[in-house]
Symmetry: C2
Subunit: 137 residues, 2 copies
Amino acid sequence: MKAPENIEIAGEPIPLSLRLQRGELLAADCPSRSVLKHVTSQWGVLVLLVLLEGTKRFSEIRKKVNGVSEKMLAQTLQSLESDGFLIRKSFPVVPPHVEYSLTPLGMEVATHVSTLADWIESNLTRIIDARNHIQSK
Amino acid sequence: MKAPENIEIAGEPIPLSLRLQRGELLAADCPSRSVLKHVTSQWGVLVLLVLLEGTKRFSEIRKKVNGVSEKMLAQTLQSLESDGFLIRKSFPVVPPHVEYSLTPLGMEVATHVSTLADWIESNLTRIIDARNHIQSK
DNA sequence: TGTGCGTACTTACTTTTAGTAAGTTTATCA
DNA sequence: TGATAAACTTACTAAAAGTAAGTACGCACA
């Protein structure tokens, strides 16, 4: 993260608590890097998309996100939870019943992720056309 | 990709060539998956951000994207080029001089990537706060 | 009393990917 | 003659992802 500079407006210093500390993704040691990794990880993106539809059980997410293994899904859910993007609600029953849903913070990222995902889905043919065009050179 | 269904409007079938085939990221074998991988790869995201600023040389990109190795940068640039997101212009000089710039297609994705990246940078403190809150439970 | 079932994981192991460091190329300049 | 610079490439190691099997446990059924 950027070290907060001593900004002031009209001679009045802005209190630290009110100043927003912006992350810098281009800085190798900025904590935003790990957030980006979690959010844009292969399965992270897809899990966020699915959870935008609403609360889902572990097994439901697994069914929707075609190809994810139980191990990777569990891992992905844990990292997204640890970043505060989703909450895990476990019911004390057997067999286990666990529900995942986006937090307000999670909905915000997921919305941006969804926009990007939509663009890719919508423009797939353009991309494939471009691919073929480049290949044939 | 979704198999094109036989859609028609007002009794008139839409020719295959005109119908847009949407990708489906949730389908394991959809080609959109590899595009997503390239675009949201750790270094792919950051390269796209840097190239939004304009044409850049290999070494300039490497300097801006803190932490990327030459190997990974070369690999990332190649995959983004193969998807038609950027063009590589090599000048026949020694030492080598190579310039990379976004294609119109690349600018579109990069814009969406940038929106997501901006959100993460802007909300880092919220995320870190959420992280700490979760940890302390 | 025991056997199987369902769900959400976890663990051990293999394969793939990423990271690191050193090498390659070649015109130009000291 | 030899060092230099820029953009890669290659060989090797470390880390991450994929695969498959195991674990926990309360309930239903035999």
